[in-house]
């Protein structure tokens, strides 16, 4: 059953998986584009190289975010257009069907995650690092997997809901922003948006995993 659901999900999400697989493979390689043998470079050159590598590395959380969002949203798009009628007519408890769908999406995510892992390992292998600088391909891959999974879980949960749920979520965000602007205009500065942002992006906020440094190479 999972195999069939996986196939079904693949037919609707393969473009996302392929594009993000290529992207995930390319980013770590792009981060070593500017150097091969760093053992013969001076401290300034190594420092510049590391900064460039980190800059390129910032594309990784963005990729994880976009991958999770798109896979999460695509998980139910075909069902939404048919108002879930077909899925509801299948002899599977609803919780189980949701779980199978979630699993299928998580398995599809393994493609881009593996691509990032291979890209990171290759990038680590082609660079000769000076003493004190290390490559973290496995850690980076695991973090990418975690970040993509968190985003996938959030948007899977949002997209499973009816239009009313989606509209409600967007309305709440809109109300927060408008409330912030309105209170700011009358002289009060409650920083609602900033507060919400902090709440989400600082531990234990769900988006905290996307923050911080995303470097394949570090001290």
């Amino acid at each position: 059953m999972l195999g069939n659901i996986l196939k079904a999900q693949w037919t609707s999400a393969r473009a996302i998986v392929i594009v993000f697989g290529i992207l995930a493979f390319t980013i770590p390689l792009a981060s070593v584009f500017y150097g091969g043998d760093l053992t013969i470079s001076n401290v300034f050159q190594v420092s510049t190289w590391l900064a460039t590598s980190r800059l390129v590395g910032q594309a990784i959380p963005i990729t994880a975010l976009a991958l999770g969002v798109l896979l999460g949203m695509s998980a139910w798009s075909a069902d939404h257009s048919g108002r879930h009628v077909y899925a509801l007519s299948l002899p599977v408890p609803r919780w189980k069907f949701v779980l199978l769908r979630f699993e299928a999406g998580a398995i599809l995510m393994a493609g881009p995650v593996a691509a990032l892992g291979v890209g990171a390992l290759l990038a680590s292998a082609v660079v000769k690092l000076p003493t004190g600088i290390h490559a973290y391909p496995l850690q980076l891959t695991l973090r990418f997997a975690m970040a993509a999974m968190v985003m996938y879980a959030i948007f899977f949960a949002i997209s499973i809901g009816t239009k009313r749920v989606v509209v409600g979520t967007l309305s709440a965000i809109g109300a927060l922003i408008l409330g912030d602007i309105a209170l700011g205009a009358i002289g009060s500065s409650p920083a609602l948006v900033e507060g919400a942002y902090r709440l989400l992006t600082h531990w234990p906020g769900p988006l905290a995993i996307l923050m911080g440094r995303w470097a394949l190479f570090d001290v």
Partner: protein, 296 residues
């Protein structure tokens, strides 16, 4: 008596304008049950309630002996459902849709599915997004027939199909029914279509089940009578008087449960029965609706 579908005082409310009121359906096992009603009567809502897709406000539903919605997966394991607007996953191919469906039904008959694929002139490699409405309807019918269910619930299965597709679908359905004792619950407003295939009929109007009886009872028992010198007050009658309309010279009565010996009742009542008109299903259906909407 065992019933494939049984509802008891089933009620549902959607907003201020629509209400399903205490519907008591009894669909015998092996019956081909036509669920008739005009557009907006509540047929699709009833079907969705039977499928556990809507929560009932009150009342109980049993499908194949299982409580709905509590034991819905058990009921669905033996139920084939074609919705009003068939929808499968558009990026899939026809063959993939068949494999996908088969994964959920242990009795899915691949050989029969391939046979129906030929019968319906469907192309296995066609993408679902490229199928016409008729082809999508036929594919959905293929899937539910090949799962060899004990119960088929079809919600307007031929609505919007061209005559050829409609004939193909109905022929396949009849062919399937002739192979076993599947119960079919078919909702439609196309009366003449149900007349050909159903042996039971239920009529829903404005959310109320106004009649449920065998097709022969419906066709033979509903009559239009022309009555001269009708009594002003009518006491007990051996038939059910549904509608009474005055004309310049006599009265037209629409009755249910009519049998030939009942003509004697008119002599006793001092009236004269001038004519008994047989009604086909469509005429009977129209008269029933008129009667339910204009109580005398």
């Amino acid at each position: 008596m065992s019933y494939a579908i049984e509802t008891h005082n089933l009620s549902y409310r959607a907003g201020k304008n629509f209400e399903l009121r205490e519907v008591n359906l009894r669909v015998k096992e092996g019956a081909i049950y036509g669920f008739l009603g005009p557009n907006g009567a509540g047929k699709s809502t009833t079907v969705r309630l039977l499928m556990g897709m809507l929560p009932a406000a009150s009342g109980t539903i049993k499908v194949l002996g299982h409580d709905v919605p509590r034991a819905m997966p058990l009921a669905l394991a033996d139920t084939g459902y074609v919705p009003e607007r068939p929808h499968l996953y558009p990026p899939m191919l026809v063959k993939q849709a068949m494999d996908y469906h088969a994964a959920f039904f242990k009795d899915f008959d691949d050989g029969y599915a391939d046979e129906l694929l030929q019968t319906f002139n469907l192309v296995a490699d066609a993408r679902l997004s490229s199928l016409s409405k008729g082809e999508m309807g036929k594919l959905h019918m293929l899937l539910v027939l090949a799962q060899r269910p004990r119960l088929l619930i079809l919600d307007e299965p031929t609505d919007g199909l061209d005559p050829v597709a409609r004939r193909d679908v109905l022929t396949a359905l009849l062919d399937f029914c002739s192979q076993g004792s599947t119960t079919v619950f078919i909702s439609s407003h196309l009366v003449h279509e149900l007349e050909r295939i159903c042996d039971w009929v239920g009529v829903l109007d404005h959310g109320r089940l106004i009649v449920e009886l065998p097709m022969h009872g419906f066709k033979q028992g509903i009559k239009r009578l022309r009555v001269a010198r009708p009594p002003s007050l009518i006491g007990d009658t051996p038939f059910v008087l549904l509608l009474r309309e005055q004309t310049p010279y006599d009265e037209i009565w629409v009755v249910r449960g009519w049998q030939a010996p009942m003509t004697q009742w008119f002599d006793g009542a001092g009236a004269e029965l001038k004519e008994v008109v047989d009604l086909d299903l469509e005429e009977g259906f129209v008269e029933l609706l008129r009667a339910s909407r204009t109580p005398f």
